[in-house]
Symmetry: C2
Subunit: 193 residues, 2 copies
Amino acid sequence: MQTRGRETRQHILKESRKLFTVQGFRNTSISEIIAATGVKKGNLYYHFPSKEELGLAVLVDVRDEFFTILDDALAGENPIVRILNSCNAVMAMMEQNSFVGGCLFGNTALEMTDSNSRFGRIIQEVFSQWKSRVERELRQAVESGLLTSPIPADALASAIIATLEGGIMLSRVYKNKDGIEDCILAIRVLLGK
Amino acid sequence: MQTRGRETRQHILKESRKLFTVQGFRNTSISEIIAATGVKKGNLYYHFPSKEELGLAVLVDVRDEFFTILDDALAGENPIVRILNSCNAVMAMMEQNSFVGGCLFGNTALEMTDSNSRFGRIIQEVFSQWKSRVERELRQAVESGLLTSPIPADALASAIIATLEGGIMLSRVYKNKDGIEDCILAIRVLLGK
């Protein structure tokens, strides 16, 4: 693809992401995407043959960006610090958007997972990959004696991610950061910090 | 309202609830509601002048049912047991539907809270009332020496509810009860059990 084509594709992905995140996938029409991007209908369909293909491409794009930010944030002197840094990075992402929209994976999980298996599979994959990164840190923490928990590492990883997602939901409901902050306090307790 | 009118109203509420929970509010059309209920359009509009009014009435109906179940479940010999019993009751509600649909409050929170303030207010009220019930038990647990936590009772109540909501989301994504079960393990740790 030529540079200009790639730029158009990226532009469509970014604008559609905003609409899908705030309004939901089904509730966003092709006309709204055309209005928001300024791209002609033919050009839009050249890049994405259907709204479903566009939705899936947006999810893949957000997934790649999310894991880049997550992997950057999973830094620090020990696994517990790394997990907490990654939680704070997720909070920062949400705060950047003033808690409007929330987490596209969580939203799509609730909107699409029962009815569209292609969306469902990407969402499952995102949560599984995220979980395996947290689980890896937890295992290191246990092995190095930094963490003793009655919960097995895989279940604890899943609970940490769920807690964060629930916190994002509450922050979105109340439009403030209390929900996520309360959840990060809880995660600290789960990590024995 | 006559008995028959009340029955029709309840029937519309129950059928619409199923559609809204699985498909979302915006994605459910009046025609689908008519098809699912078998109620004539004029009769539907007699009970609910608009889809928005119907959506709000469904939320209020689910809210009332939820708090009845929650209050029944908040039983047991001490506040910690009561909170854990209420978490298990929420899991049982989700399991009853095989994790399809998930939590209507959570779904509506993510779908509607940014764009419709009337929906947003009911959702805020549900989470606030739920939180205040959990917080009341936590305060009793602290006062009676059953719980020592580094997290203040109001933040801990919020984190417990968020954790449960996140668990419901993961259970819905993977269509099994692992997500909620992992979260209940985490809640036990938060409660020092």
